[in-house]
Amino acid sequence: MSSAVQPAVEPASLEAQFLELVRDLLRELGSHRAAEALTLHSSFERDLGLGSLERVELLVRTEVRFQVRLPDEIAQQAETPAEWLRGLREGGQAQQGAQRYRIVQPARPAPPAPAGARSWVDVLRHHAEVEPDRVQIHLLEGDGGEDITYSQLLTRASEVAGGLLARGLRRDETVAIMLPTCSDFFYSFFGVMLAGGIAVPIYPPARPDRIEEYVRRQMSILRNAEVRFLISFAEVRAVSRIMRAGIPTLKDVTTAGALRELGVQASVSQRRGPAKPSETAFIQYTSGSTGDPKGVVLSHANVLANVRGIGWAVQFRSTDVVVSWLPLYHDMGLIGSWLFSVYFAAPITILSPLAFLSRPERWLWALHDSRGTLCPAPNFAYELCARKIRDESLQGLDLSAWRVAINAGEAVLPDTLARFAERFRPFGFRPESYVPCYGLAESSVALTFPPINRPPLIDRIRRDEFEREGRAVPAAPDEPNVLRFVANGTPLPGHEVRLLDEDGHPVGERVQGRIFFRGLSKTAGYYRNLPATAAVTTEDGWMDTGDLGYWAEGELFVTGRRKDCIIKSGRNIIPQEVEAAAGEAQGVRRGCIAAFGTVDPETGTERLVVVAETRATDSSERRRIEADIVQRIDAVLGIPPDRVELVPPQSIPKTSSGKIRRSEVRSLYERGKLEARTRPPWVQVTRLWARHFRSWVKLGAKTWASRLRHLGLSAMSLVIAGFCGVMARLVPGREGSARWARAGARWLLRLQGWQVTMRTANPVGGRRQAVFFANRSHRLDPVLLVAVLPSPVLLADGFAVNAAGVRTRFLLRPLLVRPAAQAQSPPGGTLRERIRAALGRGCSVVVTSEAPAGTPPELSRFRLDALHAAISTSSPMIPLRIEATSASRFIVAVGDPIEPVKCGQVPVTELRERLRRSIAGLGNGRP
């Protein structure tokens, strides 16, 4: 099957014919000058301006012309026609009938989803125990494939976890996974979780000629994520030293294979305790955002809630089969497809994005073969299938099982939906299968879903009112100048969406507003990026999506992204519209146009700038293109752009998923650096070396300095805890020891670099003794409370003190409520008697919650003994809420005291409920 077949033409004429083919394509694309300059050694991308989609077109044409079947890589990796020809000569195979990988249907329906799972590790373990031999992933590679069962997934992931632990990965450290779609990705992803780390999936380099930009872009992400390990493929090890210099935390660049080997050898059986739902599962770096990398922190609970919500929205059936070609570093591929299928034990067929791009029909055939019922893809995938697939390769295709065709991830275009449905209706595709939905990485992946089994709802509205006033007025059927938007449905259960105007007031029906949301899947924030987090979150827990939309008939219509919106003379212009109009111009590279606004200080409004890539270099040709663009935009919008800038191909920066980075284009434009050119790889590597050489040298010095500093600090805190602990034992009276212990605790906090803020409505601690009830937030809570409470206090709970470590134990032991002097049974008296004795002597007592670690503050549990003691000595009970706002900042909120005298008739359990409610109420920023 793999025998190379010589095309039935002479070598020389093969060259000529191929060049003619390329020339034809270039002419059709309107690039006459490039067609003339074409040689065997022109670069496809730089000289000819052929992007990945155009090269897919070229691949198809080559195959038809020479009756061969080419390897997929050729379309993305061949740099020049010469390389392409080499591929054609060596790897070209005789066209054969579509040999596809048969997928075995699962014999039994899926078992029930693990509704009680608290983490993704639980989910995987559950399925691996319930049905170890159930196939989870059908991974398609080329024309072959690989099946991965749950038990394989767990075993190999455990091996990776063992390897990571053997290499010294500690709990909650981050591990970046930079892998294309392959089985190692799955093992690594769960391996990191099993080892107690946090996975950071990032996108793998697609092209070797983009090292500099690629590494620079990844480095800022990796630095931001403070990664300890990078799991990648073997080639990346070559640049690992450069990376290590740029990323101080990075310990090693390694491969999943190496880790698994190590894991098997080391057989580290060190299994961590179960992950808590609030713990971070992984960090998803957003693709569409501009500026600094923003890592969306997603907890197990977030992602589980989202996946459960999607399952509800698509009415998951136990016979569903998922098919996906989406990249795994992207939220829709990772959560929306793969983790979704893992959770519901639905088999998933996965093919790589590259396989899809080079032959879109593969995706449809994968759906056919696996009888796929559920498949998410962005709009362009539907467009690509509708336009680029030859009829011959669709014979026998059956899409009738496909019941949920999710369209999300970018703007959903009504025309695309219509075109795709039209083309594939003969193959059993039903328009009711479309599920156009809206989501964002900040809400794990999905946020709103329309009802299923309904053709997409398309709203035609009048352009004028919408652009001037943001009102979506339905248009008359014959009205020419309309905008069309697709309904995105209603929020998932457990989520809320609201639309606000510029002043922060909710907008009415059919009025455009900014989309805010909150709910179970909402991220806690961006990893180590407080300013960015603060910029998009409100105090009452809402998150600003930065997108715009309006409500109509109970459904959300998303209209665009606010940060890209151009406001010119009071009129909102959506850049996509401008770009689409400019894209119609002859000689412009479609999809490689950026429209944005820059502030013009002279007129006080924004100037509309359009940057378009073109292959044309001839000045008269360029003038013609410029005029064409201006004319077309004017025709659509009624205003001409202020400036049109033509740039060579590859000048406009895009995100990993191909979206235009408009704000980056703007800043490049404003700095006059639009026309940057790529340099040869060796220059890039050298420049990188030069840039990071100094930091590389500094790295060693810095590590040693920090080690020494750490040593010094811990020695100092040891001395202080020792001294204050001894003094607390020596001085007479409990008041005195409490003062010494408090001094020690304050020093310890200072050395730790902790900042504690006290929030209180009325001053705490008059002369009267009280019982403080506090939640547990951290190991060192007792230290924190002793340090911040104004009057010296005693502690009720020996366990909390012991759990905090040796130093704390020594310092705070003298503060524990001590056994009463008189003989009692049990010896020393019960806790109630001890607290009562302390209160009777005029000391205040701190009682901490005895709920398991990780319990939210509002579910704190308190010993009834402490309440009884407070009641019998009529001491007020004061609720406290400790909250960590970052690793070293804490807020202690003090609630209103509950007077036991006032509620002497109330059962003690009711008093405890009041305390709990009060602590819960302290969380909402109220003093």
């Binding site: 509704a115 009680g116 049990p826 549990r861």
Partner: protein
């Protein structure tokens, strides 16, 4: 609350007839004994006994249950005739509908019985899940059905350890329905006991299909799979073993019936949750114990020379003497008969009188060393081997991390394995020479073998114990039982004492626990301080 009249248990028991299930168990016998001893004029007791070992229910009751050392003295005092008058023995099996009582019997019982005390339950930690279900889930459903058809109230005995991994303070006020250890709070409704039971039964049916019905024994691989299923379901929701998982399901069945959520009429019930039930403090006599599944292995390991304890020093061990539990159950029974009960009563000691592991281990260790010194008559081979293997009994107990303990045990196993193989080689060589005296070497290898078996036993026991003594620190709130006693008459408080705060743990462990275990459990094992598996 204080205005209400005090409740007299003797009065209640004089007026109402009671039905007891599981009365031939360790706790059941003490309840029976207390009732006979302290309330001789109770009205009537119906006693459910399962026919077994070729005896009918009645034969078994008189020959086996009443013959137990716990009861024989009381029975002698009361006389068998009086008993036959007061106690009706029913042949019953909780695994069947109406507990296997025929319709005639049900008709006879209806309207007579006011209260069912359900003490029955299977207490193996990791049995095949269908067995555990049979007594702890199906059994509860059947008792419940019977209670409904008799119009009786239900006192259901469960366990504190239904808390599973939700450690820390266990509040009695926490709702029973919908509870699972990993629950996120009152808003989390992901656990529905009915769905869980249905799913588990479906899996059991799937696993056992084609292997005959309940009557025949299952092949070992099938029962292994059933054991694994129980373990997996329990761990999935956060229970530490199959026993507590099934027990919690049983509780939820009762609570749902109490709320009328299962379709039937609402039922008056109380759930009593004892902690680890251990030897008697006073009644029937100090140290009475039977079964010994819980703390006995701990004692035997300590006395058998375990020195490296993978426990946290300040974890309290929740042990409660059996007679206290039985007394409390009778008090709750009286409250339930008077309609003044709470839904849940936890019977534990650590909230007033905690016994920390450190204290207990040192106590047991001192006792072990005292006995070693007193003994001095062990086999020389054994003593030498213990030296070689590093487990000499003179050493002091240490507290180590689980990883350290595991590493130490592994090293010990390796060393013992090496010694054993050396001995075997030596023995073969010796036998080849044809000289006499090979038996001496045989004794040595037997001793080595015994040591390694002991090490294995410890390994297993510690693994079973880890959830209780290592990872989880429980404090079971026992407020309700204290307030229950406040509403009892003085005479009943003396008859049915509940006074965990006055237990002197040192004396209890030395004189009640250790002596009780030596006397009533595994006498052969105690003789040589080794524990046969």
């Amino acid at each position: 609350m204080n205005q209400l009249p005090l409740i007299s248990a003797s009065e209640s028991f004089r007026r109402h007839e009671i039905l007891l299930t599981g009365g031939s168990g360790f706790l059941g016998k003490v309840i029976l004994g207390l009732l006979l001893d302290r309330f001789p004029d109770f009205r009537h007791l119906h006693f459910f006994e399962r026919p077994a070992r070729g005896m009918s229910a009645e034969e078994r009751f008189y020959r086996e249950t009443l013959a137990s050392p716990a009861l024989s003295a009381i029975v002698e005092r009361l006389g068998q005739d009086r008993l036959r008058d007061k106690v009706t023995v029913w042949s019953a099996d909780l695994a069947h509908a109406n507990c296997g009582v025929d319709p005639n019997g049900v008709e006879k019982l209806a309207g007579r019985v006011s209260l069912i005390i359900n003490c029955a339950g299977k207490v193996d930690f990791f049995p095949p899940v269908d067995e555990s279900f049979r007594s702890n889930v199906d059994g509860v459903e059947n008792v419940l059905g019977l209670a409904r058809s008799l119009g009786a109230r239900l006192l259901h005995v469960s366990t504190c350890y239904v808390r599973g991994e939700a450690d820390g303070l266990a509040e009695e006020t926490e709702p029973v329905l919908g509870f699972y250890p990993h629950r996120h709070g009152p808003e989390d409704h992901s656990f529905r006991y009915r769905d869980e039971i249905a799913y588990c039964r479906e899996r059991i049916r799937h696993i056992t299909s084609g292997h005959g019905s309940n009557g025949t024994t299952l092949p070992s691989d099938v029962s292994q799979r059933l054991v694994a299923l129980g373990r997996q379901r329990a761990r999935h929701w956060g229970w530490v073993n199959t026993y507590t998982y099934a027990k919690s399901l049983g509780e939820q069945i009762v609570a749902a019936a109490g709320a009328g959520q299962d379709g039937g009429p609402a039922l008056e019930y109380a759930i009593v949750r004892p902690a680890i039930v251990e030897s008697a403090l006073r009644f029937p006599f100090p140290g009475w114990i039977e079964g010994g599944r819980t703390a006995a292995p701990l004692v035997l390991m300590a006395l058998g020379g375990l020195k490296d304890w993978p426990v946290q020093r300040d974890m309290p061990l929740e042990v409660v003497p059996v007679d206290l539990v039985a007394a409390a159950i009778l008090v709750v029974a009286a409250l339930l008969l008077e309609g003044r009960h709470q839904p849940v009563y936890q019977l534990a000691t650590a909230d007033v009188n905690p016994l920390e592991m450190e204290h207990l281990i040192h106590l047991l260790d001192r006792e072990a060393r005292r006995r070693t010194r007193a003994r001095r008559n062990g086999h020389l081979s054994r003593a030498l081997l213990e030296r070689l293997a590093g487990t000499h009994p003179g050493a002091r107990a240490r507290f180590v991390s689980p990883a350290q303990a595991r590493a130490k045990r592994r090293r010990l196993q390796q060393r013992l394995g090496r010694i054993e193989s050396l001995l075997a080689k030596a023995r073969r060589a010796w036998e080849r020479t044809g000289l006499p005296g090979g038996q001496g070497l045989g004794a040595w290898s037997a001793a080595a073998r015994a040591l390694s078996l002991q090490a294995q036993f410890r390994e297993q026991t510690l693994d079973t114990y880890l959830p209780f003594i290592l990872y989880h620190r429980y404090i079971f709130e026992s407020e309700n039982i204290r307030s229950a006693y406040a509403s009892m008459t003085e005479a009943d408080r003396r008859r049915l004492p509940w006074d965990p705060e006055s237990i002197d743990w040192d004396s209890y462990w030395i004189h009640n626990q250790i002596e009780g275990i030596e006397r009533w459990i595994q006498p052969a094992a105690v003789k040589d301080w080794t524990f046969k598996i």
